[in-house]
Amino acid sequence: MNRIKKSNFQDKKDRFVPYIMSGDPSYDAAIDIALELQNAGVDALEWGVPFSDPLADGPVIQAAGDRSRNAGGSLTSALKGIKEARTRGLELPVVLFTYVNPVLSYGIENVVSAMREADIDGILIPDLPFEESEELRELCGKEDISVISLIAPSSKHRMEKISRLGDGFLYYVTSLGVTGTRQSFSDDLAASIETLKTTATVPVLAGFGISTREHVQHFQSIADGVIVGSALVKFIGERNLLLQEEETKQKALEEIKEFVQELIS
């Protein structure tokens, strides 16, 4: 059973899952950050793959992807990075977050077997709606890799269909638009998430725009956990240079840990 399906994750309360971009600011630094997040007490990790045209993401994550690509980041190095992080003691459930084109370019079968080899637990492809995901589901099913689905407030009649396919957890998109920090959220979300939870057989995690401690608490109270991406990626981006210098790296990692612990607390 992969780590997402195990009771550690399935039965946990108030799950907190951060997203970081692999290769940002460098291959090694991103692995350091992943391990630091584990120390900070997060419940799983979303590991982003850089792509030239990240449609579902806002400027913060696109910029992180560009930094990663400039530093040599790719799907290949993202897979390698987790493999290395595992040997360095990463125990968290890991979800590979990638757009579909890098996967097609690499070959779906190749990606799935490389994920198995790197001991990655799940995959989330934001531009692969469930209608197009049959082949991926089949291949991942054989390797015990969870295919995480997105559900949006606009999913309407699709919600039930998608929730029945829920694998590992469901990623509830808290606001229309792209990833990125937001001031406020629609009031209808609580009811919508509540409805979803009645048909879902796996935890429902809320993400997109969650950036403050108040947001985290609010969504942990209505969903089964939260995902925080842009706010953290921005914080990391601001420590870009510090993270790449041997003398300042530890301090920057410490700050990232504090930032996350502040969100969780």
Partner: protein, 609 residues
């Protein structure tokens, strides 16, 4: 989608076996007084001895029969579908359904009240058959009714979510004409008989005609393996909503009439078909004809699609339209339509393109549109499209995304193709009038590919060579080109699977072409399919070849084409001399070159006075 095929009126075991072997979807038997009436017990025996394929269904045809008798026949003859061919009421149909437990189709006789009739049976019957009725017989008279009415029947059936078969007078020599009306199903009886017997050759001819007719995309928006909907979940509902709205207007006469009026009275359609005599003589081969899309309002074919989508936006109750633009042509067309229809309009444009196409930016603003500068990525068309999609995701409830080419997620590639098909349709009838025949070869330039698709699609089932011309920029052996089909790999960009210019890691590569309208790293998914199936040939020509052809057309015909269009002309320059004087080479002159004067001057300026 492929129409459902029904072979009806099997009179003996031999007929029945032929129908099973023909692979038709439905096999029909008449259980009412008729020259083709058969015995239920015998049909049951045939079906036991020669079982139909799993996808084939047996249909029993009844006329005002009692429910008890129908139930007995269903059992004896092993019938899967009951077809009520008489005056059966809604209540009677309901009883037949519950009594027999099988699907029931209702025959509707074509007349002025037929549509009203169909509505009455809504959510009761499982399918329709539209037939002619003559004074002497109930249907089956073998007379074709006015096929112009098919779309309205199809629309009503589609609304009810059931099939609708067209019957009466369908023969091998008119099936192609019928298929043009995109019927959901076809019912054949005398059309597959010779001397009162079912004819195997006619049967296979019919199956072949139906199977070989180009019917793309499928219901998932796939052209072969290409196309589809690769978008975030946040957009799926909007696409479904659009698909539904498009299906509705497609069969809506009022919509078509309104669109036709706008095209005629506002945009100036039909556009001229010009015989390029001096150009033909100069190249010394084929006789060249030019379809003058440059004569459209705003100077290119883009307005055809923009008008249609604008009307659709209004129909869907959307108040805002957004569009992406590279060179600014689609942006100008969208801004124009928004002004015409009183919609608000945002045009997303890469900062780099805005710098290069300053004049078009000014034009769009003058037309009242807001031009939004895009700073992500390479700051060109690809990035403008990303930004437009992102904006759409966030404002999906009141915003209509007016995509300018046959790209993007389903239904856009199909919808834009259909809206641009006016180009090919018009050309076809103009040629019929002028020379009384089809052209030998049709040529169009391809970036995303909308003028080419609009021109090619009406010729796709004809014996006509089709050639798309891509931009080879500084050469396909350099890194500076936009030859997606020649050099790309399969991949997903902006919501559909097609060929793409991409690096080893699947990141999209910025294309290059002297023409701003052709430098897109992808291509419409249908072009990818037509290339792989070999139906359309794709060639690439360089910047300098295009510029040389542009000069030829200016000097010999007094027409300044857009640089995009000049790519198609560059192919003509090479191809025409290889053809005969009697051969007709047709070119889609997609746009005028006034917008390019600055670039042309820069390139050619040095050699000229």
């Amino acid at each position: 989608m492929k129409p459902l095929l029904k072979f009806c009126g099997m009179m003996n075991e031999k007929d029945y076996k032929k129908a099973v072997a023909s692979n038709t979807d439905l096999i029909g038997f008449i259980f009412a007084p008729s020259k083709r009436q058969v015995d239920p017990g015998e049909v049951g025996q045939w079906a036991t001895e020669t079982p139909a394929s799993p996808h084939q269904k047996l249909v029993g045809v009844f006329v005002n029969e009692t429910v008890e008798k129908i139930a007995r026949v269903v059992q004896d003859a092993k019938i899967d579908i009951v077809q009520c061919h008489g005056n059966e009421s809604v209540e009677e149909i309901r009883t037949v359904k519950s009594f027999t437990g099988v699907d029931v189709y209702k025959t509707i006789h074509h007349n002025d009240r037929a549509l009203e009739e169909m509505k009455k049976y809504s959510s009761v019957v499982d399918g329709y058959l539209i037939d002619t009725k003559t004074a002497n017989a109930w249907g089956g008279s073998g007379i074709a009714f006015d096929w112009e009415a098919i779309p309205s029947y199809t629309k009503e059936a589609a609304r009810q979510g059931v099939p609708c078969l067209i019957a009466g007078g369908v023969k091998l020599d008119n099936i192609q004409a019928l298929l043009k009306y995109n019927p959901l199903g076809i019912d054949l009886s005398s059309g597959i008989e010779t001397n009162g017997e079912k004819d195997e050759r006619k049967m296979s001819g019919m199956t072949k005609a139906v199977n070989e007719t180009y019917q793309q995309p499928d219901h998932l928006g796939r052209f072969g393996p290409f196309g589809g909907k690769y978008v975030p979940e946040t957009l799926m509902y909007a696409l479904e909503e659009l698909e539904k709205a498009y299906e509705e207007v497609k069969h809506d006469e009022n919509f078509s009439a309104e669109l036709l009026r706008e095209m005629k009275e506002y945009s100036g359609r039909p556009t001229a078909l010009t015989k390029a005599e001096r150009l033909s003589n100069h190249y010394g081969g084929a006789t060249i004809y030019l379809k003058r899309e440059d004569l459209n309002h705003t100077g290119a074919h883009k307005i055809n699609n923009a008008l249609a989508q604008g009307l659709l936006a209004i129909k869907m109750g959307k108040k805002q339209i957004i569009a992406e633009t590279g060179a600014g042509q689609h942006g100008v067309a969208s801004a124009t339509v928004a002004a015409r229809f009183g919609l608000s309009c945002k045009v997303f444009m890469g900062a780099e393109d805005m710098r290069r196409q300053e004049l078009n930016v000014f034009r769009m603003r003058l037309l009242g549109a807001e031009v939004i500068e895009v700073h992500s990525g390479g700051k060109t068309l690809k990035d403008a499209t990303n930004e437009a999609i992102r904006h759409w995701v966030a404002n999906v409830h009141d915003t209509f995304y007016l995509i300018g080419s046959v790209v993007g997620p389903h239904p856009y590639p199909m919808m834009v193709r259909d809206f641009q098909s006016v180009i090919g349709e018009e050309t076809k009838s103009q040629l019929a009038e002028r020379i009384g025949r089809l052209p030998d070869e049709v040529v169009a330039c391809v970036g995303g590919g909308s003028n080419a698709m609009g021109m090619f699609y009406p010729f796709i089932n004809d014996d006509v060579a089709l050639t798309g011309v891509e931009a080879a920029g500084k050469g396909t052996d350099t890194s500076e080109h936009a030859a997606t089909l020649t050099k790309g790999r399969k991949g997903v960009l902006h919501g559909s699977l097609s060929y793409l210019l991409q690096d080893e890691h699947g990141n999209i590569i910025e294309p290059y072409s002297i023409s701003a309208g052709l430098d897109y790293p992808g291509i419409g998914p249908e072009h990818a399919h037509l290339r792989d199936t070999g139906r359309v040939k794709y060639e690439a020509v360089t910047d300098s070849e295009a510029m040389a052809a542009l000069e030829d057309l200016c000097k010999l015909e007094g027409i300044l084409p857009a640089i995009e269009t000049a790519h198609a002309l560059a192919y003509v320059r090479k191809q025409a001399p290889k053809m005969n004087k009697d051969d007709v080479l047709l070119v889609c002159l997609s746009g005028r070159g006034d917008k390019d004067v600055h670039t042309i001057q820069e390139v050619l300026g040095g050699d000229k006075e």
